[in-house]
Symmetry: C2
Subunit: 402 residues, 2 copies
């Protein structure tokens, strides 16, 4: 039932411990659900309560500590021994008198780790200010140090099995994009198209049943195409609308994002002008990416490519991508931007999304890429153009399913 061979987990643990040793960390408390899954296999929507994996430098097995009702799921989805699954009672959940970190600190004390150097994921969503404060006050003899992005850095270079899962995610992404685009007609609501995309993302294909992407489909239309993170509304599409679709296929928690821009009827002059400029910039970058190039150098290629047409871009161009849980599919390590000097290596994977947003319109055309031994390849195969939709829906094409 495990998505990876036990030897692959052992190798991940080994690499993580090497990084712990470099940072003089004795005990790493892992609260990022992607890192928990990466090291143990634990996969559940239980990250809305406090939980963690405890990796001790001189112990071979991690501990899982979480909510009592989730312990059976931890036993079922991980490779770790059942006795290493430790559960706190429900009175600790969303309580004003009990905090789960009190329980966890007590366990750490009991197993002799209360006076060690403890690494914590300081800037992760699921390690709150109160979680940290509670741990620090309950473990006065421990020294707390940052374990931020430690496991994430191990995750940057994918194994062959991880790449296989991303290929599955790519098939799902292509299929979801195709059905999303084909459901766009005048008079169809944004929510109907978002529903089509979600259906195909989750059902997946016959070969690859879909997992839930860490972000819902983004689908701004009209003036909202200049506002990238607004989610869909009940607005019905109109003649002339442009629509940005950003989605991801997800397979066994591995993501391949994909963005395209669609126009109902002929596009505006502005959009018509900008689309080939963006596509040219993407092509130049894809030609240049290979092992040894840095994120900063990629950004420079893009910047020069659009500068000659008088454009510049405020935001980063992309980021390391793969395994994740809500609320983000990015891995929070390398970003493709000027001040990031990460050197690209084979089997690193990036979502390259050089979107341009203006006050009243925007464009997104993206590719998820794998760095190969000699260059790069895109995961998906989807026409890289501004997509024009025309015609009204017939009754059987109204974007609805029964």
């Amino acid at each position: 039932m495990l998505p990876f061979d036990i030897l692959e987990y052992q190798d991940r643990i080994k690499q993580t411990k090497q990084k712990m040793a470099e940072r003089s960390i004795d005990v790493l408390l892992i609260t990022d659900p992607a890192n928990m899954y990466y090291l143990s296999g634990y996969d559940a929507w239980s990250f809305y309560v406090h939980q963690m994996l405890v990796l001790i430098i001189d112990e071979s097995q991690p501990l899982w500590i979480g909510r009592y009702m989730d312990a059976n799921g931890a036993r079922a989805t991980t490779w770790i021994y059942d006795e290493n699954v430790i559960a706190y009672p429900d009175e600790y959940v969303h309580s004003s008198t009990h905090h789960p970190m009190q329980f966890m600190a007590e366990i750490l004390e009991q197993i002799g780790q209360g006076n060690r150097r403890i690494g914590v994921e300081m800037d992760h969503y699921y390690f709150t200010a109160k979680a940290y404060q509670t741990l620090v006050s309950c473990l006065p003899n421990a020294t707390f140090v940052s374990g931020d992005l430690l496991v994430n850095q191990v995750r940057m270079i994918k194994s062959d099995q991880e790449i296989e899962y991303m290929r599955g995610a790519a098939k799902i992404a292509e299929n979801a994009m195709l059905h999303g685009v084909n459901s766009i007609f005048r008079g169809v609501r944004e929510c109907d198209v978002a529903a089509q995309i979600s259906y195909h993302s989750i059902a997946g294909t016959d070969q690859y049943g879909g997992d839930y992407p860490s972000i819902v489909p983004m689908l701004p239309s009209g003036e909202r195409t200049g506002m990238p993170h607004l989610t869909w509304s009940e607005r019905a599409f109109m003649e002339g609308d442009s629509i940005i679709i950003e989605l991801a296929g997800c397979y066994k928690r591995y993501h391949v994002p994909l963005a395209r821009t669609v126009n109902i009827g002929p596009a505006s002059e502005k959009l018509d002008r900008i689309a080939p400029i963006v596509i040219e910039g993407i092509e130049k970058v894809l030609d240049a990416v290979k092992p040894g190039i840095t994120c900063s150098e990629i950004e420079e290629i893009w910047r020069n490519s659009i500068k000659k047409y008088g454009f510049e871009k405020e935001a980063r161009l992309g980021y390391s991508v793969g395994l994740n849980y809500p609320p983000d599919w990015g891995e929070h390590t390398a970003s493709i931007r000027r001040d990031d000097h990460t050197v690209l290596l084979p089997n690193m994977t990036f979502h390259f999304i050089p979107a341009l947003w203006f006050d009243h319109y925007g464009i997104e055309i993206s590719e998820t890429i794998r760095v190969t031994d000699t260059g790069c390849e895109t995961f998906t195969d989807f026409p890289r153009e501004l997509i024009i939709r025309d015609g009204y829906a017939t009754p059987s094409q109204d974007g609805k399913i029964s």
Copy 2:
């Protein structure tokens, strides 16, 4: 475009300031996206980067501080003045050298709030340990105090407009449950049914276009029904399987969750025995809920109802529900359990989910309720029974859409 009248926002601000005054908080930093939406209207999937609403006790308008690319969305979706929308540059995003809280602290200093009593949402997902640590170190003259659940407590009693939105969410939930149940056949994969449910949750109805629920549909089957938070797999259903469906309809970010248990073919003796016991317990509770009763008293009614059959339940029975964002639709205030003495008042809303989980099976039958002036009412109208599915799928009923 605002989902609520401006007077309703003013009233929410006023109630929040009253609670700030009670806790001697001068400045409340609101990082929970549900609380940001509640007070300002801001609605975007941008909570994967640091952002906040700043409510100052002696200023009438809050400030929104977030990422540059999200500022247009903040101007478009909120009632606050454009000049109160302040954006940080992209170099602060997922960076090892810049933290958004450095920028935010600088703004607070510049507007003369650097030496005040500042309330922060200490245990919220989107207020990390590092966010807190950075703020504290950048604002040495401020006093930090807990603003935990302050706005959440205001949110507990719903307005008539909020209840209307929940009624819309209830229609969506009923429809999604119906289609989910009707797509269950032997040989259909869990992911196909999850896709059906997601489609109908997001498309919604003609009247109520769906919003994304804060949790994906839960759909454990077979032995996994004892593991409530495992998400769907590619497993195909088999004769005899039981399947637990927990979903929510969501309309304008307001949730109505609903859970039912389904069996393919005749249910096991165990499940057949437990179902009427759970339903009887639910009915006793629904008969008893009215203004003035406490969460603890409700738990006692349930406990006594199942105790006579020899059962007891470890986890809480339910929680305050309504407005939320991923990863949870619960409001983290009142829980229906023994040590929670919250007094129920009209227009409080709860998800009452007295699920029972055993090592190899489980049952969930739930209702979302509104406390009325004299009792309570359920939002959805869906048969409260163990649902038996029979027969194989015909080619047109294979759980797939084209």
